[in-house]
Each structure stands twice: as C-alpha cells, then as structure tokens.
C-alpha cells in the first residue's frame, strides 16, 4: 500500500522539509517558532497516516507534552510496529524545545535545520513502511518479541 501525504500547497512532506532545510538562516530565524511547530506537525501527520493505514484511530493524547510521542507509543504496539523510530520522535521533540529556547539566532537556525533532517528521516521511514506493507515485515529487529508483547499486553 503506497500512501503519499500531500499538503495543501501540493508539496509532499519530504519536499516541504527539503525546502525548509534550504532556507537561509534569516528566514529560519524570522519564523522559528512557527517552523518548529510545523516540523512537529509533519511528524505527527506521518505517524497519523501510518496508524490510519493500519486501521487504528490516531490518539489525541499527549505524552510528556507531545502528541507525537503519544502517537509513537500507540504505533509501537502490535505488529507491524514503528517501535524503531522511538529516538527519532524524541529527537524531533527535543529539537522543538531547543528552537523555542535557543539563546541566539544562529543556534535557532541550526536547530530548525537539524530538526527538519530528523523529521525527514521519520517521514522516509514511515513512508517506507507504508510502501513495503504488502511485502511483510519492514523492521527486522524485534518482530518475535513484539508479537509476544502484543499477546501479553506489554508495551
């Protein structure tokens, strides 16, 4: 099943992230807070699409103040799972906080750019999962344990 999430301006999330990464520092700094929020939203949209494709209703809850982390927790359960993007989601939340608390403009610009690269990995990873769903397991590392965890109700 291939699902490509399109934005209102018809760019894909990956294209939008490429565009953010290419922006000059001044443009990143001028819209720092909005862009940090947009990166989180792109991450949430990727996980939401994946959950929907799996037949789940994406949660509106938050974990540690982030819906992204709640969505990850939801998607990490069962099989197939996107457990393997836990740190990528946490890095995205971390960069959101770093942008909002950046002590200078150069640091804010750097954090937005790195955050966009982290979000791009998440988008590529989840899109890959969607595309490969018909071929079986994507993440090879922990399927047997996840199956058992799902059966016993562990997270």
């Amino acid at each position: 099943m291939a699902v490509t999430i399109r934005r209102r301006d018809e760019s894909t999330p990956a294209e939008r992230l490429d565009a953010i990464i290419a922006l000059p520092d001044a443009a990143l700094v001028a819209a720092a807070t909005d862009l940090a929020g947009e990166l989180l939203a792109i991450g949430e949209a990727a996980l939401t699409s994946w959950l929907a494709a799996k037949g789940a209703t994406p949660t509106k809850a938050e974990v540690e103040g982030f819906r992204l982390l709640a969505l990850h927790r939801q998607g990490a359960r069962g099989d197939p799972s996107f457990n393997a993007c836990r740190e990528t989601c946490r890095e995205l939340a971390y960069h959101y906080n770093c942008v909002r608390q950046a002590s200078d403009e150069a640091e804010a610009a750097r954090r937005i750019r790195l955050g966009a690269m982290v979000a791009r990995h998440l988008v590529l990873f989840v899109d890959g999962k969607l595309e490969i769903a018909g071929l079986g397991e994507f993440c090879c590392s922990s399927r047997p344990l996840r199956l058992r965890d799902a059966a016993t109700g562990q997270s």
Partner: protein, 307 residues
Amino acid sequence: MSGKYKRVAYYPGCALEGTGHAYNRSTKALGKALQLDIVELKNWNCCGAMEVKNVDPKLQTYLSARNLSIAEDMGFDTVMAPCNGCYHNLKKAEYDLANDQASREVNQRLSSKAGHKTYEAGKVETIHALDWIKQAIGEEGLKTRVKNSLKGLKIANYYGCMYTRPRHIFPEKDQGPGSESTSKPHFMDDLLAAAGAENVEYPLKTACCGGAHTLSDSDTSTKLVLNLLTTAEACGADVIATECPTCHTGLEMHQARAEKVFGKKTSVRILYFTQLLGMALGLSARKVGVHENLSESRDLLRDRGLL
C-alpha cells in the same frame, strides 16, 4: 575500567567474513594491540540473522543458542560479537531461553537431535565490541596508549537500530552512570573521544539505515542513508564512525548509489570505530583494513597525519 573481558570468546558472524571483513581485521588487530585475547568459536553457525527470525523465531533462538553452547564448551563465560545483528540475536536468544518455555523446549529438542549440549540461559554473557573495549581497557587506558591522536577529526557516531532495541533484551543498559543508554548511546563516543576525536552532536545515531529495504526497495534505503549522510555533514562531521557491518556497508553502498541515481554527492567518510582506534594506537591503515572499505578515506587520513 573493570578489568573484565581480557579474554573472551569471539563470534565474528557471517558478515565479518564477507562485506564486513575490514571490521573483522580491525577488531583482531585492535585486540592484539591492546593485549586482549580473543578466541574464535569453533565451528560456529549463523545467528539466524533476519531471515530465519522472520520465518521461525524459535529456530533462530536455537541457532544463536548453539553458538553460546560452543562458547560454554570452550570454557568461556563471555562471548563478544562485533556485529549488531549477531549481538542482538544472541541477546534475544538469552532472553527467550530465560523467559519462554516453548523456546526452551525447541532448543532442547533441536540440540538433542543435533547431538550437542543444550544451552541454558545465564551460562554465557554476550557483549558487543564496544563493551569489550570500554570494560577491558576503558577511556583512561586508551588515553595512555594513544600514539596518533585523532585530534581535529570530527566524528558522527552512528550506532544503528539493533544495538539498543528492543530495550528489554539488554537488561544491563540504562542502569545509570557507567552503563550504556538505549536512547542516547555513548560508548563509541566515549572511546573515540579518549583517542582524541571531536564528537559532533548527531541526532540520528540510532535511526534506521534502511538495511532491510536494500533489496526490496533500494530507493527508500538510499534516501534514508542520504539523510544520515547529509545530517552528519550538517553537524560538521568529517567521518561517520560505525560499529555494525550491515550499517557500514549500507552507508558505503548507498552513498555511491545516491550520487549515481539521485545526483546527490556527499563527502563524509565512513570508518569502523575499530579502524579509528587502531590507527590512534599506531597501527597502519592497511593493518586495520582501510583499503578494504568502499568509502575512500585515505586522503582525509593522510591530511590528518593518520596515514
């Protein structure tokens, strides 16, 4: 430094006999230079890797358990596996045998049929090459042995996805100071810093390299690797240090493929952490197999006085 692991059983696994040969060569050379004794398991077999595990997880548990049984028979209580896939699978087997009766029964049945001793959980500890150097030598021990400092070399440390996941098969991790972290691993960072390197902050150190996609969806693998490479460059890295042969080969191959297929050239070099530590200890680039890498790093190493 605990002084543990001065003499351990060595399980190279299949990859280190093939595409990861430079990792095998550099691990052995590093052990010799540090006067650490590693003894290869006799008649070892595949750990079950990804393929067997996905088809029959309990058969994979048996295959890994057989290797642990061999280590026990050879008189070892520790086996060191440099490959993340092997390390993960041996750990998983240990977990399964400790927690799952059905896995124990399959292991018992297949071991009897194969005519060897049945491995029981808790007899042999599996460690990674990072644990081995960290515990046997430690950062202070490395500092006193460095002959060619890695000073000036900016490194992004890339651990891949199997070194820390799933968390519950690595009970020794996340145990506070001195232990490895599953969310932000740092053992490789610690060792390379002790050898003089400057580690950069790298937000994708445990992100997926697309290894499982390589054949079924090469473009996705290439895009994932390209993102790892461009992010490392954005972080200021000259080199990505690796500790897994599958990740390492994937980074090398898809770096070339990204240029060929997508026209995206990156210049960050890819080296095993064992190669970097070996050169810091004064071993030649050839001795640690730099010439066997696909990623051409000799110009950079020459510039930094390591060649």
